[in-house]
C-alpha cells in the first residue's frame, strides 16, 4: 500500500486523489484528504492534517472528516474541511463553520461581451470602487435601524425583494432561495446586531472582492447553456460574508460553549473545535443564530449586486435589465446545514464506514462546510427548478491574476463528500510573508500592463497580501475536483476589473 508521511501523520492512498488517515486512538472516524500528489505536498506543509485529524474527535462525526483539494490550515477545523455529524447524538460546532458565517460567492451573468467592455475598464473599476463599500469602516449600502436588522435576519433575501433591492428571479437563483426558515434572530446577540448595523452591503477586506470577469473557456456546452454562460461573455463575481454580525455570532457561541459545555470541550484536542451537543438548548440556539447570520450574508451580497447593476447602468448608459444582469447562483462556503444523506450503518444502526456497513439508511446530519462548497448533483430536492436536472452551479474563485471556475455538482459528491467540493485556490503563503515578497502598487501595475486586469483597493497592503503568487494553482484544484466527479468543470473566467478592501 502506498503511503505518505507528514510528521506523525501517515496517509494511506485509497485510490487516485483519495488519501486516508486511519482511525486510531480517540478518533471517532477516519479522515480523508482529496488531493493530487502536488496538492498533498502543500496540504502536508502546515497544520492542515493535524487539524483534520482533530476534527475526527467531534462527537457523532459520520463516515470521514474530509479535506478538499484546496485545504489549508485554519483555526480548529481546517479550511477546506467537511464534517457531517449526527443531529440526534452528535454535535454542532461553530468552530467547524468558522467566524465568517455564510462567507460565499455569487455570480451574475450579463449579455455584454468583452469587446463591449474594452475601453471602459478604468471607468468601471473606479465607479464600482466608489459605489460598493469596502475595507474597514467603509459603511454599507443600507444603514440599518433595529427593525431592519431583525427583518433581514428573519427573512433574508425576501426582505431585499420587499425593499426593492432584489427580484423574484434573484431569489430563484440563490441557495435556499436566499432564506433560511430556521433563522432565529432572537438568538443573535445585541453586540452582533450592533456590529452588523453599519455594514449591510459591504465587502470588508482580506480575501473578499468584487470582480468583473470574461468567460474564456467553456468545457461542457450543454451545462453552460443551462447556466446561461458562453465564451467571451462578461460576468460579475462577488465574494464576501456576514461581516461583523457573523463574526460576533461565532465568537459569542464559542464562549458560551466554553462556559456551558466544558466537559465536551475538554474531550476535544483543540478549543477552537468548540461544539454543542446535538439536542442541547445551546445547539438549537446556535443553529437559529447561525441561520439568521446566513440570511444577513445573502442580503449583504444582494445589496452589493444591486449596486453593481446600478453602476453598469451608469457606465453603459442603459437599464441593467437590458444587459440581462441575472444572478446565476449564490452559494455559501462557510456553513452548517441539516441535510439528509444516505450512510452505511452497522447491525445496531450506528453510522459506520462503508466497508463495515450491513445496510444503508437515510440520516439527518449537520453538514459542516468550512471553506467548502455544496456541490449537489441533479436530483437533490434542495436544488432550484432551474438546476434540478443539471446539478447546482458551484463557483470557485481564484486569485485576481488567475481567474475562476464555474463547476456543477458532480455525481460522486454525495458518496465522497456529503455533496461538497473545493471553495477556491487555497492559500500557500502567509500574509506577513506576502507583504515582504510583494508591493501592492507593483502588483497592480503588473496586472494592468501584462494581463489587462484593473485592480483597485482601499489598502495597498491588501493587494500585496492577496497577490496571485500567494495562492495555490486553482487549475490543479479544479482538475482534482473534476476527475473525482465531485464538481465538474463547466467554464473558466478571467478577471477584467477587481475591487477589494
Amino acid at each position: 500500500m502506498e503511503t505518505r508521511e507528514f510528521g506523525d501523520i501517515e496517509l494511506r492512498r485509497v485510490r487516485e486523489h483519495v488519501w486516508e488517515i486511519p482511525q486510531e486512538g480517540e478518533m471517532n472516524a477516519p479522515a480523508r484528504v482529496l488531493a493530487s500528489e502536488a496538492l498533498l505536498d502543500h496540504i502536508g506543509d502546515d497544520k492542515t492534517l493535524e487539524q483534520l485529524r482533530n476534527a475526527t474527535h467531534l462527537p457523532g462525526i459520520t463516515k470521514h472528516a474530509i479535506c478538499m483539494p484546496d485545504g489549508h490550515q485554519g483555526y480548529g477545523f481546517p479550511v477546506g474541511g467537511v464534517g457531517a455529524t449526527d443531529t440526534t447524538d452528535g454535535c454542532i460546532s461553530p468552530g467547524a463553520v468558522g467566524y465568517d458565517i455564510n462567507c460565499g460567492v455569487r455570480m451574475m451573468t450579463t449579455n455584454l461581451t468583452y469587446e463591449d467592455l474594452q475601453g471602459h475598464e478604468e471607468e468601471l473599476v473606479d465607479a464600482l470602487f466608489e459605489a460598493v463599500p469596502s475595507g474597514l469602516g467603509g459603511g454599507g449600502v443600507v444603514k440599518g435601524d433595529a427593525e431592519t436588522i431583525e427583518d433581514i435576519l428573519a427573512r433574508g433575501m425576501q426582505w431585499a425583494v420587499d425593499a426593492g433591492y432584489a427580484t423574484d428571479d434573484d431569489l430563484a437563483h440563490c441557495e435556499d432561495e436566499g432564506f433560511r426558515d430556521d433563522a432565529r434572530p432572537e438568538f443573535v446577540s445585541q453586540k452582533a446586531k450592533d456590529r452588523g448595523r453599519n455594514q449591510i452591503g459591504s465587502l470588508g477586506s482580506g480575501n473578499h472582492f468584487l470582480e468583473v470577469q470574461r468567460v474564456t473557456d467553456v468545457y461542457r456546452e450543454d451545462v453552460a447553456e443551462s447556466f446561461g454562460l458562453e465564451a467571451d461573455q462578461i460576468v460579475v463575481l462577488i465574494h464576501c460574508g456576514s461581516r461583523g454580525l457573523g463574526h460576533q455570532t461565532c465568537t459569542d457561541y464559542l464562549r458560551r460553549i466554553e462556559k456551558e459545555h466544558k466537559d465536551l470541550l475538554d474531550d476535544l484536542p483543540d478549543k477552537e473545535l468548540a461544539a454543542a451537543p446535538a439536542g442541547s438548548e445551546l445547539a438549537e440556539e446556535y443553529y437559529g443564530a447561525m441561520c439568521a447570520a446566513i440570511n444577513f450574508a445573502w442580503v449583504n451580497r444582494q445589496l452589493i449586486m444591486h449596486r453593481t447593476r446600478e453602476v453598469f447602468a451608469d457606465v453603459f448608459d442603459r437599464d441593467w435589465r437590458d444587459m440581462e444582469m441575472r444572478l446565476l447562483y449564490d452559494v455559501a462556503h462557510n456553513i452548517a446545514k441539516k441535510e439528509v444523506h444516505e450512510v452505511g450503518v452497522d447491525p445496531e444502526g450506528r453510522p459506520v464506514r462503508d466497508g463495515d456497513a450491513v445496510e444503508r439508511e437515510e440520516r439527518e446530519l449537520y453538514v459542516h462546510r468550512k471553506g467548502a462548497t455544496r456541490a449537489f448533483p441533479a436530483g437533490r430536492p434542495e436544488l432550484p427548478p432551474a438546476y434540478a436536472d443539471v446539478g447546482q452551479p458551484v463557483i470557485i474563485p481564484g486569485s485576481m491574476g488567475a481567474g475562476s471556475y464555474v463547476l456543477r455538482g458532480g455525481d460522486q459528491s454525495l458518496d465522497l463528500t456529503f455533496g461538497s467540493t473545493a471553495h477556491g485556490a487555497g492559500r500557500l503563503m502567509s500574509r506577513t510573508k506576502a507583504k515582504q515578497e510583494y508591493w501592492g502598487e507593483t502588483v497592480q501595475d503588473e496586472l494592468r500592463e501584462q494581463e489587462k486586469i484593473y485592480v483597485k483597493a482601499q489598502s495597498g497592503a491588501t493587494v500585496a497580501e492577496e497577490a496571485p503568487g500567494v495562492y495555490k494553482d486553482v487549475d490543479e484544484v479544479v482538475r482534482v475536483s473534476d476527475e473525482l466527479g465531485i464538481g465538474d468543470k463547466v467554464a473558466r473566467t478571467f478577471p477584467v476589473c477587481n475591487i477589494k478592501g
Partner: protein, 136 residues
C-alpha cells in the same frame, strides 16, 4: 518587550511579551492594531472599558473581542493600548484604554475575530508572554 507578527497560512498571529499581565495584554492589542494598519495616525481620542472573565486566557480573548467590537461600533481603529489586569474573587478583570483613530485618517484593513487557536499565555522569568491567532 512588545509584539511581533508571526506567519500563519491564512490568518495572522501575534506573539507578545510584557512585564505584567496588563502589559502583555496591551502588547497583543498593539499587534492586533498592526495587523490592521501599518502606520496608525496620531489622531483620535482615548476611550476606556473594562472586561471580566472566568480565567486569564478567557479574559485575553474577551478583551481582544471587545476591542474589535469597539472598533466596528465606534468607527475607529483602536491604537496605543494600555491595560491593567487584576483578580477579583473568581473572576479576572481588565481595565483598558485605547486611542480611537478615526478610519478616515488611516489606511486600514479588517481583522474579523480573535481565536483560541494555539493561544498561549504563560508566565516567564521576565514577566508574561502570549501568542494569539486572529482570523483575517
Amino acid at each position: 518587550m512588545g509584539f511581533t507578527l508571526r506567519d500563519h497560512t491564512a490568518d495572522v498571529a501575534v506573539e507578545a511579551d510584557g512585564e505584567s499581565l496588563g502589559a502583555v495584554f496591551a502588547a497583543v492589542a498593539d499587534g492586533l492594531t498592526a495587523a490592521m494598519c501599518d502606520d496608525p495616525a496620531e489622531t483620535g481620542d482615548r476611550f476606556s472599558f473594562a472586561v471580566r472573565a472566568e480565567s486569564r486566557e478567557a479574559l485575553l480573548f474577551d478583551y481582544l473581542d471587545q476591542l474589535i467590537y469597539e472598533r466596528d461600533v465606534r468607527g475607529v481603529l483602536p491604537a496605543a493600548h494600555e491595560a491593567t489586569v487584576r483578580r477579583e474573587g473568581d473572576e479576572w478583570v481588565v481595565e483598558a484604554s485605547a486611542r480611537g483613530v478615526p478610519f478616515a485618517d488611516v489606511d486600514a484593513r479588517d481583522v474579523k475575530a480573535v481565536t483560541y487557536s494555539e493561544m498561549r499565555l504563560a508566565e516567564t522569568d521576565a514577566g508574561w508572554e502570549a501568542y494569539v491567532v486572529f482570523d483575517v
